[in-house]
Amino acid sequence: MRSPLRGAAGLILLAVVATATGCQSVRPWERGALARSDMAWDPDPLEATLRSHVYFSKEASLPGGGGAGGGCGCN
């Protein structure tokens, strides 16, 4: 005799598989929005470097700024 639970599980599995195939990656020619500078983690590399330097110099913390130093800002 067929268990209703098993039938439901089968249906759920089918639904999951069917919806999983709807997941689509962004195609290479659709990356215009992702290529915008304001979408970058660090839109301005120079400013990011300066901020990072100030951060680890003032905080004297590692690995926050990723560099060694004692807080003098001279390294």
Binding site: M1, R2, S3, R6, G7, G10, L13, L14, V17, A18, A20, T21, G22, Q24, R27, P28, W29, E30, R31, G32, A35, R36
Partner: protein, 178 residues
């Protein structure tokens, strides 16, 4: 009772899994880009600058370098002047460069070309139908197509050092038809 339930359930589970696998296979996107030896899909598309549409068939009998580019793609920006220079090294009746722009907003591409003009035509495909048909895997991607419309080389990405290799390949194809 219990025994009959488990014996019924096994084939059911197998059948469900088989259907699930079949769905995955059927619905998965097709893999495998166009490769050398494949025939280039024939197309006709709107010209970026307006006017008559551009079709690949109008270049039949010439070696064609088909370049997919976008204004937001940095290597594409490096490729455009290099391809324009390469185009001028060969006679027009032997070798042509043809581009397909894939910007969602063609106005951005026109603004880009106003700043960095090139002497070869661009088709505009904001919907991305052509890169899908050519199965473009990265930006930029270019196809070197021989006089019979067969893809002979697929070039993915672009750095300036690629020009020598491209020139050699074009020379070889141009010489084939003589």
């Amino acid at each position: 009772m219990t025994g009959s339930r488990s014996s019924d359930a096994k084939p059911l589970r197998r059948r469900t899994l088989a259907v699930a696998c079949a769905l995955l296979v059927l619905c998965a996107s097709p893999a495998g880009a166009l490769k050398p030896g494949d025939r280039a899909p024939v197309f006709s598309a709107k010209a970026l600058e307006g006017g008559a549409s551009i079709s690949l068939s109008q270049y039949r009998g010439k070696v064609v370098y088909l370049d997919f580019w976008a204004s937001w793609c940095a290597p594409c920006a490096a490729a455009l002047p290099a391809l324009d220079a390469l185009r001028q090294e060969f006679p027009e009746d032997q070798f042509r460069v043809l581009a397909v722009n894939v910007d969602r907003d063609p106005k951005l591409a026109r603004q880009f070309l106003a700043r960095r003009p090139v002497g070869y035509p661009s088709a505009s495909d904001p919907e991305g139908d052509l890169p899908a048909r050519f199965e473009v895997e990265t930006m930029p991607t270019s196809f070197l197509i021989d006089r019979q419309g067969v893809i002979r080389h697929v070039h993915r990405g672009f750095v300036r050092d690629d020009v020598d290799d491209l020139r050699r390949r074009i020379q070889q194809l141009v010489a084939e038809g003589r």
